[in-house]
């Protein structure tokens, strides 16, 4: 089934450690996004990529970086995790105006 695959599905991470959340899509969508979901705050955009080779900052980019070496992959890296980065992370891609979401990664930073 075509769609977006995120890995891992959940992770407990020690503060200060580096972590990369993986996101792969097989729909050949140009645009991809990373959101974090926090209770009472909805989804907030971390970073985005309109096409392979380009990235941009969203609403809450601090502490995160992304790369877009090809169309399919859009990894999100936490260089040095902090407890405030405990959240559920969703990767999405966009076709036209409609966004498609992955299953999410639940990250706990302790």
């Amino acid at each position: 089934i075509a769609g977006i695959t995120q890995a891992p599905t959940s992770q407990i991470l020690a503060a200060g450690r580096r972590m990369t959340l993986r996101c792969t899509q097989d729909m050949r969508h140009n645009a991809m996004y990373w959101y974090r979901q926090d209770l009472g705050l909805g989804l907030r955009l971390i970073h985005y990529s309109n096409t392979a080779g380009t990235t941009g900052k969203g609403e809450v980019p601090d502490g995160y970086s992304v790369s877009r070496a090809n169309t399919d992959d859009f990894p999100l890296t936490l260089a040095s995790a902090v407890p405030s980065q405990t959240s559920v992370y969703f990767c999405a891609s966009r076709q036209g105006a409609e966004a498609f979401f992955g299953q999410g990664t639940r990250l706990t930073v302790v």
């Binding site: 645009a31 996004y33 959101y35 009472g40 705050l41 909805g42 989804l43 907030r44 955009l45 985005y48 309109n50 969203g58 969703f90 966009r94 105006a97 409609e98 966004a99 498609f100 979401f101 992955g102 299953q103 999410g104």
Partner: protein
């Protein structure tokens, strides 16, 4: 920049009750509007969307939403909810006439349907 407000944070209904969830956005230009649903433990799924034309749009599972441009609103409705509608609902907006291509989401409304 656009923003989205969902005024109902937590709604509890009995089965067969009618549902209306409020959504207001702030943006003066042309928008695309969406409602997404997130069932417990799952990812977001599209319920319905408005791009243009008839302001009353029908989505999956009996949901509908009405775009009222003068009120900057896009409220979600369902005449008779079921226990299986228990989920979190997110309204989202995308400005059509800017370079910003990502969706902006509201904070979500948690719907709990009691059998």
């Amino acid at each position: 920049a656009q923003s989205v407000s969902q005024h109902n944070h937590h709604v509890i209904l009995s089965e067969a009750a009618s549902l209306e969830l409020g959504c207001n956005y702030s943006y003066g230009g042309t928008v695309n509007l969406f409602w997404y649903v997130q069932y417990p433990g799952q990812h977001l799924q599209l319920l319905l969307k408005y791009f243009s034309g008839d302001p009353l749009v029908k989505g999956i599972k009996g949901f509908e939403a009405e775009f009222i441009k003068s009120k900057f609103s896009f409220n979600l409705r369902k005449p008779s909810v079921q226990w299986s509608d228990t989920a979190e609902y997110f309204c989202a907006v995308k400005a059509r006439d800017t370079g910003r291509r990502a969706l902006t989401f509201g904070s979500g409304t948690r719907l709990q349907v009691q059998p």
